[in-house]
């Protein structure tokens, strides 16, 4: 049983006009086996939350804490966080020319597991994980994310989730830019991982569409850098019909 605990987290970004606070006191706990959806309008800071958990250097944490089973995540480097069991599926995965998917995956798995996987079992494992996501085997020889379609990029992110087997998966807008078929394949991949690993999931999304495939235990409404309301899966249905309007109005200072 693991627990990812975020407590009163404040973070800002440097801009030409000085530091701008984006996270304004986020408090959230996710336990193994549980799925939390963080839903919010554009610009609410929900993707920033994902990046801050992963340790993107662009953001400065000004106060608050993130712990993984009591360990101080904020004191860890980006790669240490991944090795501690955190995984971020990115909204915009980055191209790395000249580095093949197979080389990248093997290097990552070696780093996270602390030893290189045996070549024979590794090739089999990779091929099976790719087949699960309906990915062509030739994909392994392409450069990381280079020339990938939107759907291929997201499948590649979920492929990494399946192979790196983190304790907690943070999925940042994994549903964006996907057609219905691709969304189903990706969502099935996430569900397969949730069920087989018992990992905790933080699902960050703008739309309720993906929640038809991945059922959350808890739904948080994220507005203006903080969680303004939490509830069960039914809260997503309220958002579906009513939108974020009510919460945005409520979040405005009087």
């Amino acid at each position: 049983m693991s627990e990812l605990v975020i407590n009163d987290l404040h973070a800002s970004i440097e801009t030409d006009a000085g530091d701008k606070e984006i996270l304004r006191g986020v408090t959230l706990s996710v336990e193994s086996g549980r799925t939390h959806a963080v839903m919010g309008p554009n610009g609410s800071g929900k993707s920033t939350l994902a990046y801050v958990i992963a340790g993107h250097p662009k953001y400065q944490v000004t106060s608050g804490s993130i712990t993984l089973d009591g360990e101080d995540v904020l004191a860890m480097s980006v790669d240490e966080r991944a090795r501690a069991g955190l995984f971020l599926a990115m909204q915009y995965p980055v191209e790395v020319p000249g580095v093949s998917v197979s080389n990248f995956l093997r290097t990552s798995v070696t780093a996270v597991k602390g030893e290189a996987p045996k070549l024979r079992t590794w090739v089999k494992e990779m091929k099976e994980a790719m087949a699960d996501l309906q990915m062509d085997p030739a994909f392994a020889e392409r450069s990381v994310n280079e020339g990938f379609s939107g759907g291929e990029k997201k499948r590649h992110e979920i492929l990494q989730l399946a192979l790196l087997r983190p304790k907690f998966a943070i999925l940042d807008e994994t549903d964006s830019g996907l057609d219905v078929d691709a969304l189903r394949i990706v969502a099935e991949g996430v569900n397969r991982y949730r069920e087989s690993s018992g990992a905790g999931t933080l699902l960050i999304t703008h739309y309720t569409r993906i929640l038809r495939y991945i059922t959350p235990d808890v739904v948080h409404v994220f507005v203006d850098g903080r969680i303004v309301e939490s509830g069960g899966a039914d809260l997503a249905e309220v958002l579906e019909t009513e939108g974020y309007e009510r919460f945005i109005t409520a979040a405005q200072p009087a």
Partner: protein
């Protein structure tokens, strides 16, 4: 001596007579980046200069007196004309018509003294297919040309490796003529030498030709590498693709990349693209990068150019690190990928791996078993 109209990118003067060219002052467009003091011996004829011999086990390679070579190339600058006047022998690599040569023809160029004139003449006969590797070790100062003729329907891949100590100088013209429906791929890998100036050019003899000019270079210390490319599309329906990637490290390292592409009025249906990327591995190095595209016709399929010089992409490093890969290893992956991306286009996996090993060694990286990019 021929004089071209002065409005375009083509060299204005072509001549075997060194007196047709002035001694560079540094104010000329084609000499403005070069360290003229370092290259000074290349600007006057040295009667004592040695010769360059090709060492190879291949039956297609011969060393002959220069008089017996009927070259298709007329020098376009002072160093070229001097080297042609001073060269006494030539290395001839002749791939016979319709020959399909599976194993790469490997030729090591060896100078007979500390300063030598070089002339290499490569001919790929009609409908032949071959790959040639030229190892130009920087253990002497060398000035000259490697002239390439790719006949109709032929496929030629040329890898030129400039590697060795960092004291010596090399100036080499690499003029290529591409025949009807012929395919020419050239890649220069520049790692060694104090100052290296390479001048690859492509002319098309007929329609349907394609040329890919690739280059990777890694400049460290006070190394100066200049690559000055000229592609002249004077025939219809030809393609050219120019991709050069360099990495620089050390405050005195300096690289120059000039990509001149000229599409003549007759060259309808041309496809051309040129790109230069430079990666700064430390503070201080200087990378000059100038793409020039001149179109005399708008009736082309595509024409483009790109140039960028910068440090490590933070987003790439973040992405790799977020997958557990430590920062130093992530940087190595990015640099290796940066070069592998170009070398992978050669279609010579074994040589790609050898080149990657040499680059890794220069960067002080442990080489991996295989970079299966």
């Amino acid at each position: 001596m021929t004089i071209a109209p002065p409005h375009d990118l083509a060299p204005r003067v072509a001549s075997f007579d060194p007196d047709s060219f002035g001694v560079p002052t540094g104010r000329e467009l084609e000499w403005r980046f070069a360290p003229l003091d370092v290259l000074k011996p290349f600007f006057s004829l040295d009667p004592e200069a040695g010769t360059v011999t090709g060492i190879s086990t291949s039956e297609f390679v011969a060393n002959v007196p220069i008089e017996s070579v009927a070259s298709t190339w007329t020098p376009t600058d002072l160093t070229g004309a001097l080297a042609r006047s001073g060269a006494r022998s030539a290395v001839v690599i002749d791939i016979p018509r319709e020959a399909r040569v599976d194993e790469p023809v490997v030729v090591r160029l060896e100078a007979s003294s500390s300063f030598a004139y070089q002339h290499v003449e490569i001919t790929a006969g009609a409908f032949s297919s071959a790959r040639i590797v030229i190892e130009a070790n920087t253990v002497a100062d060398i000035s000259g040309a490697i002239v390439i003729n790719v006949a109709d329907g032929a496929e030629l891949t040329l890898l030129m490796v400039v590697d060795g100590p960092k004291e010596h100088r090399l100036v080499a013209h690499l003029p290529a003529t591409v025949g009807r429906d012929a395919r020419f791929t050239a890649c220069t890998v520049t790692l060694g030498g104090r100052a290296v100036r390479l001048l690859p050019s492509v002319h098309y003899r007929s329609s349907g030709g394609s040329a890919e000019l690739l280059g990777v270079f890694l400049a460290e210390g006070e190394q100066f590498f200049e690559q000055r490319i000229f592609v002249e599309h004077e025939q219809p329906h030809c393609t050219s693709n120019v991709i050069y990637k360099g990495a620089l490290s050390g405050a005195l390292a300096h690289t120059v990349w000039i990509g001149d592409v000229l599409v003549r009025r007759e060259a309808i249906g041309t496809q051309t693209y040129e790109m230069n990327r430079n990666l700064l591995l430390s503070d201080g190095p200087r990378a000059d990068s100038v793409p020039n595209l001149e179109l005399e016709t708008g009736d082309v399929v595509s024409a483009g150019h790109a140039s960028a010089t910068g440090r490590f992409d933070d987003e790439q490093l973040f992405y790799l690190q977020s997958r557990g890969i430590p920062a130093e290893l992530a940087r190595q992956l990015v640099v290796r990928g940066f070069f592998a991306d170009v070398l992978g286009r050669l279609g010579m996996p074994a040589w790609r791996d050898t080149m990657m090993q040499r680059i890794s060694a220069r960067l002080g990286m442990a080489d991996e078993e295989s970079d299966d990019a």
